[in-house]
């Protein structure tokens, strides 16, 4: 049992990557326990909250704690860690290989370049504008507002590191832009343009994860994710509200 440092490291790293990339709490716990079982650490326990992981490897070793400060949505990483967990339990890779792969995944960046993500957000906004029964001419204003909102959210989040402020400002800018476009005459239905454009910022993943965690019995994680989702929704709403009250 003394040489279990690598095995413990693998489990913790896998849990950390998954939690930072937006996996559900129960999936993180489940994957960590599966990995530790296939690595020979039987009787492990892991306790996961959105802000930290406590892991008890086996019965004789001391427990370890990891603090999680940043959480984004990166499904690519979740899927990659899932693959490694599968390979470990079917014993197609050794623990050293798994460790190397996990370090690679941890240091890898987003699966797509920023420009492509902004373009995707812009096009999605335009499509949502039409889906929410806006007129066809609102597609272009939707694309413009959505792209502006998403890129300002990403850049502000990088500079100030305060999610609430970034979301608030992004939705504020969306509101201003939409009103301007409608006044100029490019857009027709301002409401639909704004709703479509804020969709890339809406905390859809957080809401689902929150409820799933609650139903799975992870009450602490569920409530804290719910609080995060509420805060995000409030930031977006407040940004739009400010636009309406000043114009």
């Amino acid at each position: 049992m003394k040489g279990a440092a690598l095995e413990v490291e693998i489990c913790l790293l896998a849990g950390k990557i998954m939690l930072q990339s937006g996996a559900e709490t129960y999936r993180v716990e489940d994957t960590m326990i599966r990995m530790s079982n296939s690595l020979g650490l039987n009787g492990s326990h892991s306790y996961v909250t959105p802000t930290g992981i406590v892991f008890q490897p086996g019965e004789a070793l001391p427990a370890k704690l990891i603090r999680i400060e940043e959480r984004t949505t990166n499904l690519h990483k979740v899927s990659a860690v899932n693959d490694i967990s599968r390979k470990l339990s079917s014993e197609t890779i050794s623990s050293e290989e798994a460790h190397q792969l996990l370090i690679q995944i941890d240091s890898s960046k987003n699966a797509y370049p920023l420009a492509l993500q902004v373009a995707a957000a812009a096009i999605a906004s335009g499509c949502f504008t039409i889906m929410f029964r806006g007129s066809l001419t609102d597609f272009i204003p939707g694309v413009l507002c959505g792209g502006l909102g998403f890129i300002s959210y990403i850049l502000l989040n990088q500079v100030f590191k305060i999610k609430f402020f970034a979301e608030f400002t992004a939705s504020f800018l969306i509101g201003i832009m939409a009103i301007l476009l409608v006044r100029v005459g490019v857009g027709v239905t301002m409401d639909k343009i704004i709703i479509g454009s804020v969709m890339p910022l809406v905390p859809g993943l957080l809401i689902t994860n929150a409820v799933r965690d609650l139903m799975a019995g992870h009450l602490v994680s569920g409530l804290s994710r719910g609080a995060e989702a509420f805060l995000t929704a409030f930031a977006i709403g407040a940004g739009i509200a400010v636009v309406f009250s000043i114009l």
Binding site: G22, L75, D191, T208, R212
Partner: protein, 154 residues
């Protein structure tokens, strides 16, 4: 015609959300399909049903297809289901609620906010129901005595 437009836009929007959420490249197409089917189910049902019922049904469909894709491609369910439910999130209602709060129409605003809350809840119910169905399909065949009896003669 309207349905075709909705099919195309919801497919593109859900696929684009796959890119925003950094979903693996090979799954983007499937994210789009899940989102498209969920949204079309919602649109069709919404003509004659309550919004809450159609949301539960649409999310259930999204969940079932996501579970299916997850089995087929050996990926976590969350990759497919997240892009699929995004169009169903009550962004419009939440927006209307907020707008009414700002102009001091609190009664209307509270009504809209309550509706948005219920619809978020029904998204969760739809997803949970699809998971229950998935677990039932896994567990029942193994435990049913009829199935075991059939296998014995071998």
């Amino acid at each position: 015609m309207v349905i075709t437009l909705h099919l195309i836009t919801s497919f593109i929007a859900s696929g684009a959300f796959g890119i925003i959420f950094n979903a693996p490249k090979r799954t983007l197409l499937h994210c789009g399909i899940v989102g498209m089917l969920g949204w079309i189910a919602y649109i069709v049902l919404d003509f004659r049903m309550e919004a809450i019922f159609s949301t539960v049904a649409a999310t259930f469909i999204v969940g079932v297809i996501s579970q299916l894709f997850a089995k087929l491609f050996k990926k976590p369910v969350i990759i497919f289901s997240v892009s699929g439910i995004i169009p169903l999130v009550p962004g419009g209602l939440a927006y209307d609620a907020m707008r009414n709060f700002v102009v001091n129409e609190y009664n209307v605003a509270i009504q809209l906010a309550a509706q948005a809350f219920l619809i978020s809840g029904s998204i969760a119910i739809g997803l949970v129901m699809s998971e229950v169905l998935n677990q039932l399909l896994h567990k029942i065949p193994l435990k049913m005595p009829i199935w075991k009896a059939k296998k014995l003669p071998k």
